[in-house]
């Protein structure tokens, strides 16, 4: 899975699995944001909103079940 962990000024910190890569946000899709799930396409990295929404739901459910 490819995810954007955080954005520091104009640099996105992207995790390709365990590998951390810093990428200027100018080289990423325009609406890039923290927590964004990305996928590889022939044109480069593209956002995957469905995968992101599903991932956020899964993690939110888990977090709310564990934390009180």
């Amino acid at each position: 899975m490819i995810v954007v962990d955080r954005i520091e000024d104009d640099i996105a910190v992207v995790y390709f699995g365990d590998e951390k890569v810093t990428i200027p946000i100018s080289e990423l899709p325009e609406d890039i944001h923290e927590g964004c799930v990305l996928k590889k396409t022939p044109d480069g990295l593209a956002m995957d909103p469905e995968a992101e929404a599903q991932r956020r739901r899964e993690i939110a459910d888990k977090m709310h079940r564990i934390f009180k």
């Binding site: 995810v3 520091e8 923290e34 927590g35 964004c36 993690i59 888990k62």
Partner: protein, 333 residues
């Protein structure tokens, strides 16, 4: 027959040597197995862990406190945050840096002889603050973990945050969302007060960071996670007493944080910036360092000094640094 007896006598010393070697290996194997089983199953504090043994062999530099004192450790995890408060028998870990530094943090804490963390505070779930948390929670006995409640649209989607949740679940660690205003009473009369997040509608994950103030006697420390100007402003406007001797500078010295209003309210003597050499973000920013120094603070970075430890008896602060080159300008003045 006589020849055979002679041959046997001749070969005896070699056999004895073999037996000694075998006995040594057997003892080492049993010891290693005992240490392994203790780490994974029994967890007796009086039996050293493998990390403690490695730390002792490698001559780890640790600072311990006298009775009634506290120590605050800023553990060098390169570009990330990790702080450990030791107040008597109470230990509080605030953040732990990226996953790649978890073994360093485990070695450091084990080197102090600790197997238990009473509180773990995850200021906010960015990788440079909680990336290694699953390993830390797996390694130590943990009393309680505290984290801010993050809205779903800002939750991280990476696997290390999920691993952290899974370990909490598996080990049945008490897990609570932070409640601003809560006071945690520590040993040695120290108190840790949760100051932020003040609101629940921030648009940036950094602003959800737990900020907390530690007081011991007349001395105090302020820990700020990655709060930015909006959260700083809310903390100031919330009217809490913020003046602190030591400030853990927010967001690694980024210009997103350390506004003049906030620094005026804190009036720190010492500012610690946890930051990695050659980081691609240019942290700490020169204008932030200048602002802190102009306010009269002495700035220490983990990039320059490595691990930084403050020992405090409630009146006096003593500073120890891993790289040993620190000159306390305030003491010298």
């Amino acid at each position: 027959m006589a020849d055979e007896r002679r041959r046997r006598r001749k070969s005896q010393p070699a056999n004895t040597g073999g037996k000694v070697m075998l006995s040594v290996f057997a003892v080492m194997f049993v010891l290693s197995l005992g240490i392994y089983l203790n780490e994974k199953v029994f967890r007796f504090e009086w039996i050293p862990t493998s990390a403690e043994i490695i730390s002792a062999i490698s001559g780890g530099d640790t600072v311990t406190a006298a009775e009634g004192d506290i120590t605050v450790h800023f553990i060098d995890v390169e570009q990330g945050d990790c702080e450990l408060i030791v107040a008597g028998d109470t230990r509080v870990l605030i953040d732990c840096g990226e996953a790649e530094y978890s073994s360093r943090v485990i070695r450091y804490i084990s080197g102090l002889g600790f197997r238990r963390l009473d509180y773990v505070i995850a200021t906010h779930p960015h990788e440079d603050h909680i990336g290694g948390m699953a390993d830390i929670l797996e390694e130590f006995q943990v009393g309680k973990i505290i984290m801010p409640e993050i809205p779903e649209n800002l939750l991280p989607t990476g696997k290390n945050f999920e691993r952290m949740l899974d370990v909490i679940d598996k080990k049945g660690i008490t897990a609570e969302y932070s409640r601003t205003g809560t006071e945690i009473k520590l040993d040695a009369g120290a108190v840790l007060q949760i100051l932020a997040p003040v609101h629940s509608d921030y648009s940036s994950l950094n602003n959800f960071s737990i900020a907390c103030r530690l007081t011991h006697g007349s001395r105090s420390f302020l820990f700020t996670g990655d709060i930015e100007r909006a959260a700083e402003s809310d903390i100031v406007n919330n009217g809490e007493y913020l003046t602190s001797d030591v400030l853990k500078v927010a967001h690694h010295g980024s210009t997103s944080s350390s506004t003049p209003t906030f620094i005026d309210a804190v009036r720190p003597q010492y500012c610690v910036i946890e930051v990695g050499e050659g980081n691609p973000y240019g942290h700490p920013k020169a204008e932030v360092v200048e602002r802190l120094e102009s306010a009269g603070a002495q700035v220490l970075t983990t990039m320059e000094y490595g691990n930084i430890v403050f020992a405090c008896d409630g009146v006096k602060l003593t500073i120890h640094t891993q790289n040993g080159s620190f000159v306390d300008e305030r003491e010298a003045a």
